[in-house]
Structures are given as structure tokens and as C-alpha cells.
Subunit: 555 residues, 2 copies
């Protein structure tokens, strides 16, 4: 019912200004375009969920049919588009995912102290807790993504229920690390399982509410004749984890190893099943769903992730990790006036120089994380569809990115403990390598299905392909080179590391130039070998260079 069409002078004026005004149209969370519809049912798609139906022009619907008019937002039930809420949820979840890096970076490994076994053990435990909680929260985030592919639009109640869902998810890291710190106390396992059950309960509530008011659902499910079947299927997926945790909580009272086994299943089941189906798909070919349940499987809950949510979640993690060290600096490194007077004889410069390495660590950390974000941004700019393996590799890359501040902290402290220097530089190189190689792996995975996942310009032979390759290969190569150099020139490991830190940003800035040079050289070499005295193309015309190299044409 279009309320703003009621005849009243105020409304008429409002409608006029509606058409005149330029309005930003946001087709942000187009649930169909996020790829959760499998190709053979595409004709069922009538139109995208107009997430911001502010403009009356029907031309804004990509598929033509205008399923939602401008008045929809003003419906009596107050339905709204979900994208801002989902961005907010992604921000919250990215903070929660990275929270357990704080104890790791705050592990006080003072240079004077021996880096002995107990500290190593503590650090290793904390790093393991960080990686596990990162994984767990990412599983919860992925489940949240699926849930809101089912829900097309939201209203106030759903927004509030989502806040409740967020609050339950925020307890995962704490309950997990409690469980790890007290592995044989039932309470630890119990609390973690209660947390998972609470999350499941709220999500089941959300599903129940959405199905109770079908206009809130994803249009494809809404129109389906098997809505009840969908509801059961979705609830089954949502409650699978909590049910296992319920059993685990029960077992914790008398036989807790069984609890751990069940919980490992809960955490790793999504990844294992994804990997298994991917392997099967690669070996056997895409799985043909049984004909009788064709319609049922067209809403593929194991389909690709929503690219916007992958972007938003990744941005959150990059932002937090990039600023992690400045948070500590702002809090701890403003010298105390008393200290300055007594310890440094009133010299503020001396007091600040003492924390000099921390500032250097921050610069390096921000620069590296920022450039890794830049590579991620460049990659996903050209990605159309984020598949499951790409999502997993992205998670792994982000997990290692979280370790960078620690790495830089350690390398900046090396100046006082020369014999650890080599080891710290190597660890830092290793972390940078893994963080960037997983990004490169996303690119490789995308290339395997480049027709679906990538835009034409970056596919093999495409114009931007070489630049993308260079952007994503830069950090892996640089860190590998640095690591190898430290094996040969052990005495200069620090200098090598700093050199890499300074050289890589410049390499990124001059990337296009360097790639063109490299391509020109690669092109000139065979020609030099085949024909004497050729005229190499002028390097000043980048289009000719790239085009002729990538689309070999007779000279």
C-alpha cells in the first residue's frame, strides 16, 4: 500500500520533490547478485531487492521488473533495507574476531629477560587462542551472512534481534579462552557451549520471525511453494552447531574429552564439508542436485558469500590491526611528567626516544597492513563473486595479518638483544609471507573459475592481469627474498628487514611503471633472439606495450 500517494497537498509536494531530487541509489545488498542463486533457476529472479527504494524510476532495477516501489519503505510495518545493519554487524564482528590479539601483543617480552621456555609457552598458547577465536568468530560471521541471505528486508524487531545476536557472539572469545585456560573444569566448557546455544537460539528466533512475516524474506523464498521446507532446512543448519554443543555440555559433566571432540566437530565441520565438496567438485565435476528437489536446492545455502560482506568484514579487520599499535602508544607512551623530570632530566626528547622503537614498529605495521589492504582492495575490485574457497583463504590471510603488529613489535625491540634479532626478523618475514601468499592464493583460486569470479580485464590475457599479478606477488616475493637473505647475510638481517620495509611501499607506488618495464623487457628478449636489430616499441605508450604483449599481433 503506497501511503505517500494519499491525496494531500503536503504529499503531492513531497512526491514532486522525490522525482526532482537526486537520490543516491544503493543496490548494496542485492541478495541475488551476491550469487546465492544457482544458475539454473535464474529465470525465477524477478528483480533485485531494492535495498534503498528512494527513487521512483523503474529503470533502476537491473533485471527490469520493479518489484518494490518507492513507497515500500513507508509500509506500516516499517520494513527497511538491511545493508547498514549488516555493515554495522560486520564492524562489530571484525572487532570481536581480532580481540584476542591484544593479550598476544601485550605479552611483555622485555629484551632484558631471557626468552625462555615459559615465555615461549605462554606466547604460543596466546597465539593459538587468538587463531582459534579468529576462526570461531569467522564461522559465526559466515553463519550470520547466510542467515541474512534468507532475510531480505528487516524491520525494527529484526534489527533489535540482530543486536542480541551480536551480543551473544561477542562472548565467544572470552568463553573460549576461559575454556582453554581451565581445560578440565566443566564450567569452562559449559559456558562456551551455553554461548553457542544462545547464538543458535537468537538466530532461530530471527528465522522464525522472518518466516512469520514473509514479506521480510528473500523474494525467492517468499514466492516459493515450499516455504515450510526452507524453514526446516535453515533451522536445521542453524541449530546443528548448538545441538552438538548441548551434547558437549552434557558430556562435560562426566567425560570432558568427548566434549572437546564434539566441539572440534562444530568448529571445523563447515570448513571440512566445504573442502570436501570442493575437492569432489574439482574431481568429479559440479554436483547435479536430484531432480525432485531441484527447487529446494536452488536456494543454495552453501553458495558463494556476499562479496560486500567479505569486503566489510575484511576492512574491519585491516582497520583494527593497522591501528593496534597506535592504541597502545596513545595509552602508554605519553611520558609521565614526573618520569621526564627525574629519569631524563627534563628532556622530553630523551623520554620520547626511549619509545622510539615503538613508533618505528607502528610505522612499519601500519604501512604493511595498509599495503596488504591495498592489495586486497585491488583484488576484490575485480572480483565479481566470492566463492567459498576464496572466503576461506581470505580468513586465513586475515588471521596472519592480525599477527603483524606482534611481529613488528618484536623486530623493533631487537636492538637490545642481538642474538634474537635473526629469529625475530625471520618470524616477521614468515608472517608477512603467509599473510600475502594467502591473498595470492585467493587470486589463483579465482583464476581457476575466472569466467564466473573475475571481470574480463583481469583474466588471463586481460589488460590489468599483469598489474594484479604484480600487486599480489610483491609482498610474497619481498618477504621470501628477505628471509633467504637472512640465511646468507645473517649479520645484516635487521638492515635487510628495514630495507624491505622501505622498498616495498615505493615498489607499490611505481608498480605500473615497473610492470610495464618488465613486460617490455620480456617482450624484447624473444625478439632479440629471433630477429636481429628490432625496434622495441616506445615505452612511453603504455597501451601499445600492454596490448601488443597480451594480444600478440603481427608486427
Amino acid at each position: 500500500m503506497r501511503r505517500d500517494e494519499l491525496p494531500s497537498p503536503q504529499k503531492t509536494g513531497a512526491l514532486k520533490s522525490l522525482t526532482e531530487q537526486e537520490k543516491p541509489v544503493r543496490k548494496h545488498y542485492l541478495l541475488f547478485d551476491s550469487g546465492c542463486v544457482t544458475p539454473w533457476k535464474r529465470e525465477d529472479v524477478t528483480g533485485p531487492t531494492m535495498s534503498r527504494p528512494q527513487s521512483p524510476e523503474p529503470a533502476l532495477n537491473v533485471q527490469g521488473a520493479s518489484s518494490i516501489g518507492p513507497g515500500d519503505e513507508d509500509a506500516a510495518d516499517g520494513t527497511q533495507h538491511s545493508h547498514r545493519m549488516l555493515s554495522f554487524s560486520d564492524a562489530l564482528l571484525s572487532i570481536i574476531a581480532t580481540v584476542m590479539i591484544l593479550p598476544v601483543t601485550h605479552t611483555n617480552i622485555s629484551p632484558e629477560q631471557e626468552f625462555d621456555k615459559s615465555i615461549q609457552k605462554l606466547l604460543a598458547t596466546r597465539i593459538a587462542v587468538y587463531l582459534m577465536t579468529f576462526l570461531i568468530v569467522t564461522v559465526a560471521w559466515a553463519a550470520h551472512t547466510r542467515l541474512f541471505q534468507v532475510v531480505g528486508k528487516i524491520d525494527d524487531t529484526l534489527a533489535l534481534l540482530n543486536l542480541a545476536c551480536m551480543m551473544t557472539i561477542t562472548f565467544l572469545p572470552f568463553t573460549f579462552s576461559l575454556m582453554v585456560t581451565f581445560p578440565d573444569v566443566p564450567l569452562g566448557i559449559f559456558l562456551f557451549c551455553m554461548c553457542v546455544i544462545a547464538i543458535g537460539a537468537v538466530q532461530a528466533l530471527i528465522v522464525g520471525y522472518a518466516f512469520h512475516f514473509p514479506h521480510l524474506l528473500n523474494p525467492q523464498i517468499q514466492r516459493s511453494a515450499h516455504r515450510a521446507l526452507y524453514k526446516q532446512h535453515i533451522l536445521r543448519i542453524i541449530l546443528r552447531g548448538p545441538a552438538l554443543c548441548f551434547a558437549a555440555a552434557g558430556f562435560s559433566l562426566f567425560f570432558y574429552p568427548a566434549s572437546y571432540l564434539l566441539m572440534v566437530t562444530v568448529i571445523f565441520l563447515p570448513y571440512v564439508s566445504k573442502a570436501a565438496s570442493w575437492c569432489r567438485g574439482s574431481l568429479v565435476g559440479p554436483r547435479e542436485p536430484p531432480a525432485h528437489s531441484l527447487e529446494f536446492f536452488t536456494f543454495d545455502l552453501h553458495g558463494p558469500l556476499s562479496k560486500e560482506r567479505v569486503d566489510a568484514f575484511s576492512d574491519g579487520v585491516y582497520a583494527i590491526v593497522a591501528t593496534l599499535l597506535i592504541l597502545d602508544i596513545c595509552e602508554d607512551n605519553v611520558p609521565d611528567p614526573k618520569d621526564v623530570r627525574e629519569k631524563f632530566s627534563g628532556s622530553l626528547v630523551a623520554a620520547l626516544s626511549e619509545s622510539g622503537p615503538r613508533f618505528l614498529a607502528y610505522f612499519g605495521s601500519f604501512a604493511t597492513v595498509g599495503l596488504l589492504w591495498f592489495a586486497h582492495h585491488s583484488l576484490f575490485l575485480h572480483v565479481r563473486k566470492a566463492t567459498q574457497p576464496m572466503g576461506l583463504l581470505n580468513t586465513l590471510s586475515l588471521a596472519f595479518v592480525g599477527g603483524l603488529p606482534l611481529a613488528y613489535q618484536q623486530t623493533s625491540a631487537f636492538a637490545r638483544q642481538p642474538h634474537d634479532e635473526l629469529e625475530r626478523v625471520r618470524v616477521s618475514c614468515a608472517i608477512i609471507f603467509f599473510a600475502s601468499i594467502f591473498q595470492f592464493a585467493i587470486w589463483t583460486t579465482a583464476l581457476l573459475q575466472e569466467g564466473e569470479t573475475l571481470q574480463p580485464s583481469v583474466r588471463f590475457g586481460g589488460q590489468e592481469h599483469a598489474f594484479m599479478f604484480a600487486k599480489l606477488a610483491l609482498y610474497p616475493c619481498a618477504s621470501l627474498l628477505a628471509f633467504a637473505s637472512t640465511c646468507i647475510l645473517t649479520r645484516f638481517s635487521t638492515a635487510i628487514f628495514h630495507l624491505m620495509q622501505i622498498a616495498v611501499p615505493f615498489a607499490f607506488l611505481l608498480l605500473r611503471l615497473l610492470v610495464r618495464l618488465a613486460l617490455a623487457i620480456l617482450r624484447a628478449l624473444p625478439r632479440l633472439a629471433l630477429r636481429p636489430a628490432p625496434t622495441p616499441p616506445a615505452p612511453g605508450d603504455p597501451r601499445d606495450d600492454t596490448r601488443s604483449l597480451l594480444h600478440p599481433a603481427p608486427c
Copy 2:
């Protein structure tokens, strides 16, 4: 030049899949629609900046003319849409804006210790530093917003320059608090001024680069004949602050009070000039720009803010503040196994109960911040254009939101120090009141220009108007009520506060019901007075209730 039209089988296949595939279209940062074009030049607007030109359908252009085709993203210079980079920047800046709340929440005001003058002074200083850095970073964020209204599209170099800009901005809080801690040491002032100058330098570089490659500019500036004038104007605005800081740095060497005066001017000048022009506008009427420089002023750099950026920045702040206390809990409140054995005789329950108040504080903090986010989200859903005063009020609201974790921390510790209880509850109520009343003020400000700023449904007389009013008035009323109750029932102040904490979320959930009831009552009262024994409308039909109340029709 449309590279993907080159005749090759690979490309033809690619083009085919381009048209077949559903592609999310994102018209996110439509610079014109963010309102930076003043109305009398609207006919110059030919088309929105197609920030994600992935689909060849020209129908996607709202204004009809397709200024950028699908091949543009594949241009040799690698231009890209800017919205993801701007979202990332907003995430970074929201973290930096709230960073100085950490020392405030970590101020250890142990209940056993007397809340004496020195601690009060320390806390007050830290709160002041937090508020000032919040303000400063928000000024920097607003400047960044303006800068990227000039720049329409970005390329790799601009993305990297933006990262550099972000890094320089991240140093503002530290240098500011250093300056405040050492007010009479020239180095403090000098470092802060250097930071501001560095920001100005990078932004000037960005402007210079963008004007050097005009295709990167906002289309309106791009097509203008007075591009050089624009460039000067923009550079003047960007370098105004740094120039003043340069002078301040100079003065710091021999007469630092002058430095502080200059810096106060830098920080407050934008707000003062905004307020002055708003007052002038309200009193005198909209300012008519001089006819000869009509075209020059049509790109109004003092125009409204981009709503998407306000949303993104606000979401970042809400997310960080909501999770602030769980970060501490995850880091500090996992009991040490040794402590549990020794202090609590192996009872994990007892160990956790000791930090019980911290968990309660987290619940309350998350719930309150989450609900304030919900009110903000509901409001901005219906806001078309965010004006300057609205932006300022939003900043003030966010600044107070940042104070909520501290407030809840303090109230949760009251159990041990009864005589402070009243004061802490009152402070908490005050902070909640101010955080929510500024939100309400945004709404009021928007109502003053409702034709431009709000959608029809929420304007006065609109259908959702009453709900919006209720959502935004709930927290101010509740906190005011709680504050007043503590004056009367001083002994039960804690209970009152907890009651409010529990009641408000339920009130939000049942808001629509309560509003309809209230409206029905309001409607029934005059009718009861005017005519005996009327038949009140059935409360079960919400549409009739609201419609007949808001659009009085003869019964």
C-alpha cells in the same frame, strides 16, 4: 576506449557473460547526490559518477545520460570507484577518534580508594583530552570527506596517498595528548603542529595529483572552465589549518600562549564559521552568492556532508564503543589458574563472580550503545541529506556515546562504595541523556528543513513520524526520569538505574505497540470530552489508528 570490445573469442565470451550475469550495481558515492551541488546549477549535472560501471545497461543511470560506460573501469590508468576506500578510511578514523577513551576507562578508580581530588583531576584531564581529540579527529574526518567530494574516482596512486593521509591523521591523538601533558615544552606543540602540517601536505599532494589527471575529478569540476580557480580554492581551504599551525610552531619557540591561541582557532574555526553561517542563514535567509562567481560557488565546499560517510563513521564509533568493555574482559578477566587455586580454593565460579560487576557493566554498556545505534540507524534511514548542523550534533552525540563504557564501569563498581552510588548513577544518567538528546536534536534540526532533509513518511503528519519521535525520545525521557527519581528516592538509585536498563530494551521492542496505544488514547480523549459514549476504534487495526489520527478524516 572499450578494450573488452576487441575482437577475440575470449573477449566475446566475456562480453556475453557480462550481460548474462547479474551484477550488483553500486551507486554508492554519488557525489552529486550527497548534496554538494547547490540547487540553481542542477541542470549542469549530466549524470552520476557511475562508481561501479559493471553493467552495460544505460538504464542504470538515474539521470539518463550515461557518462561512463562499462569499459571505464578497465582504462589503462586503472581508475576505480572510491567507496570501499572511503568506508575503510571511515573505519580507521572512527578507531582513531575513540582511542583516547581507553586511558579514561582504564583509570583505576578502585572502590577502596578515596575518590579524592587528585583522582578527580586525573579523570577530568583524561576526559577533556578524549573530548578534544574526538573533536579534532572529527574535524580531520570532515576535511577528508570534503577532499573526496572533489575527487570523483581514484586510482592506485591516490589509494596509496590516502593511506599516507590516514597514517598522518592517526598521530593526532598522541601528539595532542603529549602537548596537553607538557603544555610549556615547545616540543609538544611542535610535534602536534608538524602532524597537522604533514596531513595538509599529503592532502595537497592528493589535490595536485587529482587535478593533474582531470579524469579523476568530480565530473562537475572536470567540465568546469575554471578548474584552476577550483584548485586554488580547495588548496586554500586545505592549507589554511596547516599554515596556522606552522605559525603556531614558530611561536612555540618563544611565546607559546600565542601558539595555543592559533591552534584553538584551527580547531574551532570550522565549527564557528558553520554556526555563524547557519545563524545568519536562519535570521537573514539563504545567502545569494554574487552573480559573477555563480559558477564558482556552485561547488559548495561548505555544503552538506555525504550521508554515507556520516553513517560509516558513526557505525565505526558505535561498534568500537559497544565492544570496548569486552576487549578488557577478554584480556584481563580470564582468571589465572594460580589465583583460582590459591585465592578461591579452586572454585572457578567464585573467581568469575568477583568480576561479575564487569560482565554486568558490559551487558548494560552494549545494550545501551546498541539501542542508541538502533535509534541512529532508524533516524538516518529516513534522512535524505545530512546538513552541517546535523553533522555537528551527530559528532556531539557520538562523543557522549564514547563516555558510556566509563559510566557503566563506575556504576557496576558502586556495590562497594555506597556513598558514591548516587553520584555515579547520576553521572551515568547524565551521559545517557546527553548522548540521546543530541540524537533527538538531529531529528529536530532535520524537521526544520524537512522538505530537503527527510523523507515524506517521517515528516510531521507522516506515518512514521510518531514512531520516530518515540524512538528518539525514549532514552532522554528514561534517563531524565531516572535522574529525577534519584533526587526523590535517593536510597534506591541503584535499583532505579537497573530498572531503567532493563525496561528500555523492552520498551524499544514493544515501541510500535506502545505508540499506537498512546495515539489511540490521545485520540480517544478529545472524543470522550466532545461526544458522550463514542466507539473508540479497534486497537487491532494499526493502520486505521495511525492514519485517522495523522490525517484527520471525518468519522
